[in-house]
Structure formats: C-alpha cells, structure tokens
Symmetry: D2
C-alpha cells in the first residue's frame, strides 16, 4: 500500500509542476505587511515579518517545501494540540474530558468571562488558554519537568529528533503571563487545576516555547491525518480515537476565533500559534484527481499575524492551496 502511495504521489507531483508552490509563496509573502509580529512577547517581535515558508509531506514520504520552511519558531498555541494528545495518552480520553469540554466558544483565546458565567467553570475546549492550562496540568509525569519531557518524547517519536525549549522565549513569557496567571488561579479556585498554579504555568509556557520548523509540524500533521499511524515508520504513535478527537478540535476551535471562517473557506483541521506557525492536515479523501488524495501534513510559518492571532500570509497561502488542490474535507 505504501508503494502505491509513493507511486501516486510521484505521478501527481510531476503533474503539478511544483514550481507553482514557489510562485504562491512569493505572491502571498507580499501580503505580510498587513499583519504584524506578536508584540507582547519580545522574542517574537524580533521575527522577520516577511518570512513565509511551507512544507507538505505525503504519506508516501514525498516532501515539498518552499520559502522559509527551515526557520525555527516556537510552537506557542500549536503546542495545545500536542499537549491534549499527550494528556489523553497518559490519562485516557474520558478523564481529560471531565476537566475540559470540546465546545467552540467564539471568544478570544484568553477570555476569562465564560469561566464565571458557566458554572462550575469547566473550560470549554483545550484550544483556548483556560483549557490548555488545565490540560497542561494533566500531562503524565510527577514534576513539571517530567510533564514537559512526556511532550517532547511524543514529538521526538514523530519528527525523529528531540525538540529543544527556547529558554529566552519561556523567560519572556513567564515574566509577562499575567492574564494566563489570572486564568490559572481562577481554574485553581474552581478545582479544575490539579497541580499548583505556578507549576501549571511553567508546563504551559515551556510547551509554548518548544522550537520547531515548518517541516516538523508538517510531519505531526501527517501522523494526525493518518489517524495516529506513522506511515513512514509503520507505527501507531497515537491511538485512532485520540487522533480523530484531536482533528475535530482543530477544525472547530483551532484557528482562534476565526475557526469558523477557516473551516468555511479552507476546510481542513489546523492549529495556529501567535508565533506565526500553522499546523494543518488533510485526511485521505476520495477525490482521486487531486494532489495528495491519501492526505498529507502541512506546516506553515509566517510570523506576521492578523487580528485573530493567525499568520496573515500563512492563512492566505493555505486557502489558495486548498482551493487549487481541493483539499477541503467537506
């Protein structure tokens, strides 16, 4: 079967005249000026706003890349996806879902209102900060260090190298995480946070500071696309139920409070971070005449973000590709 995939992918990529990807990156890069790098974390503000890169990996091993796909950036909110997976692996889905729901909210990612309005204050989903901090506290391991290690181990098992934590970014966020502390203390009071607040924040902010590049997150996306199965290593990394649940969360809640618009006009599961990364994926689908009919993982990096917190040029590029190659899952 993998043989068949490889052959299909090769044929399609030949047909695609892949240089179109370079053209598209160049075109959409020019829109970066309409966004701007996240200002509240000094380390992020130093990024080059005109960086734009993409990496797409097919299940047969085909890798196509363009632009600044190799530039390192920190996961930020993309880590919420991996943390949710790790918590489900360590505690079981039902244990995790007793502490965090899976409903989209329409609210900004750092909103606190809903915790008070809806008793008893269970966070609505793991993709907003309140839910992500809760999930961070559920990671397997006794100490913050162990919990972060459990996360890095999953990433290593997928991308093949152990990621590092950008200490400067972590320190920068740690000093200014007032709103996240407000959320965490609120969750502590309502009983949804299992560890101490400062521990939960250390875990959460360190997971946000994990360094990756577009290729790394494309590979994670690919594994999710294939229900947790690593098609290149022939190994089930994540149970299918966890992968499916994660993909649904990415689609309904992954692109901040523009998730609905992204589902409508791009139509694939994706998770963005304020550092400008987007981890997206395409599950296998039966449109045989299009590129990657057996699905793919997509990693994007473009640090100038829009009003919602999503890579401005990155979303435009992804929308264009999704339309051209008919990637939508709908």
């Amino acid at each position: 079967m993998v043989q068949r995939m490889i052959q299909e992918e090769k044929r399609q990529l030949r047909d695609l005249q892949m240089d179109c990807l370079d053209e598209w990156v160049t075109h959409y890069r020019s829109f970066s000026g309409e966004g701007q790098c996240a200002a509240y974390i000094p380390a992020l503000e130093k990024a080059n706003p005109f960086d734009l890169g993409i990496c797409i990996i097919g299940p047969g091993g085909t890798v196509i890349k363009s632009g600044d796909w190799h530039v390192s950036f920190t996961l930020q909110s993309i880590s919420k996806v991996i943390s949710f997976i790790a918590a489900c692996l360590g505690r079981g889905i039902s244990y995790v879902l007793e502490r965090v729901d899976v409903e989209p909210t329409g609210d900004p990612f750092n909103s606190i209102i809903r915790l008070e309005m809806h008793k008893p204050g269970k966070p609505f989903n793991p993709m907003i900060n309140a839910g992500a901090i809760t999930v961070a506290s559920l990671l397997p391991g006794e100490s913050p260090q162990n919990k972060i290690e459990s996360l890095c181990t999953i990433i290593e098992s997928i991308v093949g190298k152990r990621p590092t934590i950008n200490e400067a970014v972590f320190q920068s966020e740690w000093q200014t995480a007032h709103r996240n502390r407000a959320l965490a203390y609120y969750l502590k009071e309502t009983g949804f946070l299992e560890v101490e607040v400062e521990e939960a924040l250390e875990i959460y902010l360190k997971q946000c500071a994990i360094e990756v590049n577009a290729e790394d997150i494309a590979m994670i996306g690919l594994i999710l696309a294939h229900d947790g199965y690593h098609p290149l290593r022939n190994e089930q990394i994540i149970p299918k139920e966890v992968a499916r649940l994660t993909k649904s969360l990415m689609l309904t809640c992954g692109m901040y409070n523009a998730s609905g618009k992204f589902a409508a006009f791009v139509g694939i599961p994706a998770k963005s971070g304020v550092s400008g990364g987007i981890m997206a994926l395409v599950p296998p689908r039966s449109r045989q005449e299009v590129p990657f009919p057996n699905g793919c993982g997509i990693g994007i990096y473009g640090p100038a973000i829009d009003e919602y917190g999503n890579s401005h040029a990155g979303v435009m590029l992804l929308r264009h590709i999704a339309e051209k190659w008919d990637l939508s899952i709908f």
Copy 2:
C-alpha cells in the same frame, strides 16, 4: 461513474447484512425515555417520544430505511440550513456574510447576550436563532410569502415534491415566540434585519413549520454531500461553494451547543431541530472498505430530545453507525 457507484453500494449493502440497522434502531429506541419532546410548542409535545426512524441514501440511489422514517415532522432548526442556502443563492455569499458571521459560539441557540457584548451586534452564525432570523429576512422574494416559496422551491427541486407548512405548528409558535421577537427587535435596532420584524418572524416560523420526513432530509443531505450536485437527477442544484460553506457550518454549529461533542464523537456535518429531526451527510472519502465510500445523506427522526435540543436516541444511533461504518470525515 454512477454505474460504478450503484455496483459498489449494492455489494456493500449485501455484505452489511442490512438487518443490523433494524436491530440498532430497536436498541436505541429504548433510550428515548431519557429525553423528552419539546414542551414549549404544544404541537411538538404531542409527538410519540418513542418514535425513532432513519433513512440513508447513497449517490447510486440505494435507499435503506428503518423504523419510523415515514413519520412527518416539522423542520424547525433544520430549516436554518436550507434558508442559508437559499439566501446565498439569492443574494450571493458575500452579501449574506456581511450580515451574519460563521463562527460557533458555545451559547444556547436562543441567547441574546452576544448581540450586545460584541459591537455592532452581527449574529455569530446562521445556526443560532439570531442569525437564522437575519438570514430569513434575506431570502429572495419581495413578500414573506415569496420568501417562503423560494425555500419550498429548493426543497422541491431536491426531494421531488413540494413540501407543506404545518399551519397548527406555525400558529402555535407564532403565539409564543417571545424570545424570537426579542432577538428580532434587537437585530432591527442594530440594523441587521432588512425587513420588518413581524415579517421576518413570519418567514422564520413558517420555515420552521415545513413538514418533512426522514427520507426527505436524507435526500437533502445527499445533495450537500455531493457539493450540491443531485446524483440521481444529474443536476447541480446548489453551487459547490455554497454547499461547502454550508457543510462547514453544520459541522461547527449544527448541533446546538453540543456541536463540538458531535464533531468529536460522530464527526460528520449535521443539523438538528427540536422536533427531533437530524439531517446529516457523509462526503465521499477514501476508506474503500466501508459502506458508502462515495458518501451519503442521512435523515433521522426521534422526537425525544436531550438537554441541548438534539434527538436523544437519534444522536446515539448516529454515533453508533458512524463508529461501525467509519463515517467520520476526520
């Protein structure tokens, strides 16, 4: 291609030993007692809470049915999907989206809070009442009567017969639509309602009172599954872009404030109504070994609803089928 579909469907259905569907309906019918018929509309309260029926239609024309699939019920919130489609057909997507967003909210369907909290008060999506009333006002046609007719015409073009409006249900809702009137007057003040309030309510409540059965909505679902193309009549009923947009809305917002959970555990676009109907669909996908790989439309009727407003037994049945037949789009 249709020939191939028909052959595939026939083979699969033979393999499926279709009597399992009857077993499942019987099994999940017994859970109806955990829900109850909507009490606030007298006509709905008179339904038999233990009714449960399902109809599934494949693109090759295969129709499988079980239980009370033939019982008539009113569309209620399922009409929001068809109304949104009709408004997009009549006014264009961009015109409609200037007046209603496509973001899920996490709020109850009749919530008014967000209209005041988020200036200038644009409804968040067409699947909550505020958005649906706005969309009803955008339907093509000069009078309420014309607007309703435009809706019925679309339904007729899909299911092959013109639907009727249950006047008793309409009158019953018209008398008690205090909350909907509150929403509509609020929208009038903020300028999002283009017609008079009482006209908008007449349109909205009449569309809610359109009578269908499970087979009818399965057929509508099928056409959406196939991007608006009617595979049996070989005709494009709805433009592909409108169909895709509609499916994304059903997935992110279609099952009231349990939409996230439904996406997570069933994983297909669906829209429910408080009368107990669920219109669902499965787009084509590449899992070749499963039933309906080329997609299908699904109609369910089970009037005992849960705390969110969704058919209690219907959701359980749909989840079971989705798991057994691997219907998830993720």
Copy 3:
C-alpha cells in the same frame, strides 16, 4: 411649623443674594456645547441645546427660578420614578418588588444582558428600561389608558394641573422603540410582564411623553423630600415607606450608569431623562446654617446630554449648587 419654615426660608434667601443663581445658570449654560440633544428621538433633537433652567421649591413655599425653567419637555426616564410610586400605591410594595429588584447594575439603561445572565431574569431595578417596562405593566387600571391616567392623577395631585402627553414624541418613540420591544418580549417570555407587550410599551412610552417643566418636577421632588407629604397642601400624597424607597432608588440608580459618581459628588437623590430633565430633592437635614435646611425639591432642564444620558450643564449646575449650599445627604 410651616410658619417657622417660611420665616427661615425668607431669611436665608435674603442672605443668599439670590442673583447668584442667575450667574451660575449663565455660567454653566456655556458648557452645553460639550453635550448634545438625544438624536434617536426626532422630537428631542429639535430642542435648543443651550436651554438651561432651574427651579427650587422649599417646604415653606419659597420658589426660586432661573433661566429656562418654564420650557416644556417630556419626562422620559424621570417618569420611571412616578410610575414606580404609582405601582406601589396600586399594588403594594411587596407585590411590585416580587417583579423588580432594587439593585443598581452599572450597565447602560437599555442593556439586555443581565436578563439572560441572572436566572430567572427579574429586572434589577425600576430605573433601567427593563424594570421600568415591567413596572409600567403593574400600574393600576385595566387598560393602557387607565394606567396612564393613574399616573397623570398622581402628578396632578402634586403639581395642581393635569399634565398632557406629547403625542408627537410618543409617536416618534413608538416607531423606533426596537430595543424596548426586545426588552419587553424578553420579559414576556420570562413571565415578568403581566400585560401584553404592545400594551406595556404603549404605557411606558406614553409615560415618557408626559410634558412638564422644571417647576413641575421641582414640586414632585419637594413632596418626595418630605416623605410624600405635600407641605403646601397639608396632605399625605404618597405613603412614607414608598417615598423613602423611591428616594433610595433615585440615589443608587437614578442617574443612569453615572449614578455612583453623582451620589459621590452631588450626593442627593435625583432622576434624569434623555430629554434633559433632572428631578432632584434634598431631604431635611440638620445643617442649620445652609439654605433650605428643611429640604427642597429641585427641577432642572438642559437638553444637551452627556455620554451617560444626563443633562451635561444640568449636572454641572447641580453639583455646583450642592457644594455651595452643602446639600449632600451624607
């Protein structure tokens, strides 16, 4: 006792060199340009924004006036006070308070959020629109006409002439009362509105359109100052408990969402309306060396209103007088 009051008042007024009032009116009139006439009701917009008038009436019958005290204006929100009194007279305090609370909110006068956030949706006080519409429905009388008459009768018993309703203002508001209709339908659904919505709105909007001048409302203020007793007619018009309750509501909720600031820096019970009226009062107090130690009623008219809905120059004038004459109740 009245003899003593008259003598005291006369002595003080001689000492006051009353021409200072004219000076002050002239001075604060010049600030009218910082406010503007309410635009959403055409009839109000036609007012002269530089009108400013005041009338103060002491219990001994002393009347001092300055500026445009004689200009007619409609009660608007000031009617909420009189309507609350009339409802208490007709139904009893406890009956009324089962349907409306007496807690300030900090929200805009036309806010609807709290009705949904706080179950079961009892309006927080009679000075915001939601509470005032509820109270209007509780007025004594079978028909809207009777209910309005009961209000006019109270006013007549105080000011000595029957007030008229400005039909043009009523019609103007009736056509554009979308937000008030939204509030009223919401209240109808939650069961707090005893009459039909359109009836409640007719009553409420007609009471808003009752015409008065600054002297009329000064007289009503005087009667409240004296716990409902008419010192000039020697008659108890309003029971003491109702008068006290009303004065506390004016102080905590009377000046829209600037009530706290008004209490802090002026310190007397007052109720304003968007037409630019302020009905204020000073209860008797023991600062013997100041004007009106036995209290007084104050009426102000200045149609240019500030961001909160209060007469801009009127509040400034009142604050100045309160400081000069030490009127604060604290």
Copy 4:
C-alpha cells in the same frame, strides 16, 4: 456645641429606656441559625454563629452597647472603606479615581467578568474585590509593611489603640486566595495594579485580617458621620471631601450585591464583611424628636452571614433600629 450634644444625647437615652436594645439583640440573635459562618476561611468558620453584638456611639460621647460587642473579629471587607480613605489621603482623590471608579455593579464581590467586558478594565468601585486590591496597591508607603502601617495608623488615630493583624486568618486566606489572585493578575495585565501582584495581595489580605470589635468600628463610623471630624478628640482626621465620597460609596456599594435593598430598607451608609461585622453610620439630620439627631456611628458583629455575605441577624437588627429610631438619610 459638644455640651449641647451631650445633653441632648443624655436626655434621649433616658427617654429611650435603653434596655430595649438588649431585648432587640436577644430577639434577632435567634435568627442567626438562618445564616452561617463563612466556610472558605477556616478561622472564620470557628466563630460562634449565635454571637450578636452592637455598639452605638454618639458625637457627645454616649456609648450604648449590647450583646457580644466586645468579641474580636477581623475587618475583612470593612477594611475596604479604611483602605480607600487611606489611599485618598496619600494620593489624592483624583489620582485614586483614575484607577477605580465609584459605580455600583450588581455583581458578586469577587466577580471578574466586568474587567474583561468593559475596556480598559478599570474596576467599577473600591468595595468589590477588584477595586479593593487596586486601592490596596495605592496605599501610601513603599513596602507592603509600610502600606499596612499607614492603615493601622489611621485606625489608631480614630479608636485610640493600634490594631493587630490576626496572623492565623491572614495565613489561612493567603493560602486559599485563588480568586483574588486571579483578579489581581488580571488587573496587573490591564495596568491598573501599580505594585507586584503578590505584594498587593499581601497588603489586601493583611488589611482584611486586622482585628477589631464592634466598638472600634462604631467609632470609625462616628468619625465618618461627622465628615471626618473626631468630635471627642476635636480633630479633623479625614478631609470632609474624602469622608463624603466614602459615605456615598458605602451607601451605593457597601453591602455587597444587596446594597440596593439595604439602602431601600435601612437607608444608611454601611459596610459589611464576611466575618460578620457591619460598620454603619448616621449623618446628622433634622428629625429632632428621634435618638441621635446629631448622628452616630454603629458597629455590629454577628458572624452568621446570609447569601450575600452580610451578617444575617446583624442586618435584621439594624433594619429594626433604623425603623424604630428613624435613622434613614432619605
């Protein structure tokens, strides 16, 4: 003048047959079972729920006491009044009011919603926790210790002895102040908190843990009643403008989200704490035939609190006295 006051007070108290106060305390003590001691602070839970005591001090030096007036308790929210005064003394009223408004909210004392809903997040008043933590950060002094000392110095200047801080209560609250930390971090992010969060909390929680008895707070109330002037020591302790502002805040916001009802049915400035204390006061007023026409300070202690956080028996007792002696300021 003080001579006159003393004579008046003596005469009235003789007339009052002061044993009625003992009767009333005994009567209302029996209602304590309808409330309960605050459970979330262990040290408070250990109080005797049937304690009830009162102390009233007149400007002539008359002190009447009954019941458990001598029992020590911690100020808790009553400290918000003194802290606000101290901040105004140290920084000036306008500086303080740039950081905290004076509008009542209708929300629970520990609500966080409004900080996000109303940009830029200025706390609505100093009597809710968000405002009180902000004010604590504004106290004069460089260190938390200095700031607390400035508070104790004001109390000492009024009651004549330096108060102590109950270290056990402070430690108990410090450990469990999750919600207050959430508020403080939120305020830090929005820029309203001038010191570090942990410092602000130390100040705030230590001020809450200051020990007093009913006589102490009656004396503070007396000084406020007399516009900051200490009638027994013949000294202006608090500027008149600060005292007036403080009294208005007590009336509009002092009794948690029952402030409106307390103003309506008791009608005097008061501030309660969850430890069961109520500090109230009556400004001079011209009802000559009643007790304490020249005003008084009132201290109450009754640790069984009601649903709002106010001493259950204490409020009943105060309401009874206010009615019998006509204490209302309205």
